[in-house]
Symmetry: C2
Subunit: 250 residues, 2 copies
């Protein structure tokens, strides 16, 4: 048996997220497994570094799988890209050790969130960012980011209707090691790195930062979110289509 | 009668170009005139700064029209954007003098062309740039750009099957005042400004620059294109979906 790691880019707009579901839904996992079946003529399960929701994009999603084959990495990559649709591509196929696990071996993940802060919507950037028509105060957002950064119990930033199992609810402490806010023209890019993310954690953090930037929420409330650990204090999560799983570190 | 100027952004992917054609085709002009009809309850002709081909995008296309109305610019803009589809938007509506003509008053135009110089295709950038898998030599491309820049007879860079009328063929001298090549990560962005462009001139110039960057064509040939003025020497034009009409100056 040989073990492989895939580095994957996808446009999330037309996917019902990463995870294989019922056959009526088009998922990233489903498309890749279908391509693998074409190549190896049998069912191969892939394990992703984690799920992404419907609409969420990825520049560097990672998945692993095992197969008995004599094919070279490059040949597997070419064959996969031949079968994959235009909104999904494999940038690299890398052979790994048997003990590599795409989910459990993760050291940290980086997400980027793109906000477009301009009055009118952008046809060229639609499905790619969250357009906020009113001006955002970057200084306030950066101050709030400093409070969010660090090791905290992020339970208050987890999705209210989270369907995660009990073991995850038992430990909702995460360490956000990076939380940068950069301005590029009309775009505001939030880059966030952590040792792990709770369900909808990035989108809840960005939703909060935007409310702070609009002066509809102050920083005291963020401390309260940590203390009271209730999702009820957090504003609506930022929409999925502005979010990019940027890279996964092992 | 009052006179207005529109600043327009569109994603060219699903348009059969700018110009109104037969009703089976979806065009930018057609969509805007349809929206104007909804607002003013009568047929209003718009004049664009120039046509763009199917697939070509615009960040700052300009069009003008005249109408008897008491509506404010902002109200016209809001109403237009309400009726326009998601791949087309009006960023500004500006009232102009009666002697403003969207095509004849043009001083210069800026186009950008986006090349993605990486091995694998990019799902997130598809329909937005031209992916070139082999490495491009930027130094050679910049040297060639220096030769192309300036006042020349660009007839050799005009489309071979150009359907322009005789008056245009009589004068094919244009002045390229800017031709910059910038690298941004895996992207190579060609920015070109001229007092006017012949049909497919930008795409033919970019097609030539790419062949130079791939070392399949040398700079001597460019001088020959100028001298002999024949389209036969120019390589295939760069594809439409990497091209952006960036701004129009008056």
């Amino acid at each position: 048996m040989r073990f492989f790691k895939l580095i994957i880019e996808y446009d999330g707009a037309d996917f019902s997220g990463w995870q294989l579901q019922n056959h009526r839904y088009r998922t990233v996992q489903g498309e890749i497994e279908r391509a693998l079946k074409q190549i190896f003529k049998k069912r191969i399960r892939i394990i992703g570094s984690g799920r992404t929701d419907a609409g969420v994009h990825a520049k560097g999603q990672v998945a692993g799988f095992a197969v008995r084959t004599r094919l070279q990495c490059q040949d597997i990559q070419k064959a996969l890209n031949f079968y994959l649709p235009e909104d999904l591509v494999i940038h690299h196929v890398i052979e790994t050790e048997a003990n590599f696990h795409a989910r459990y071996s993760v050291k940290s993940k980086i997400y980027k969130y793109v906000i477009l802060n301009q009055k009118t919507r952008s046809p060229l950037e639609r499905h790619r960012c969250w357009q906020i028509p009113r001006p955002l105060n970057l200084g306030l957002m950066r101050q709030a980011a400093k409070i969010i950064k660090g090791k905290h119990n992020f339970r208050g930033f987890m999705s209210a209707n989270s369907v995660e199992n009990d073991s995850i609810l038992r430990n909702t402490v995460r360490t956000v090691t990076k939380l940068n806010i950069k301005k590029q023209g009309a775009k505001i890019i939030v880059e966030i790195e952590a040792d792990g993310f709770l369900y909808k954690m990035v989108r809840n953090i960005v939703g909060t930062l935007v409310q702070v930037g609009l002066k509809k929420m102050n920083q005291k409330l963020i401390s309260k979110i940590y203390k009271e650990k209730t999702r009820m204090l957090v504003p609506a999560p930022a929409p999925a289509f502005g979010l990019y799983l940027w890279c996964v570190k092992y």
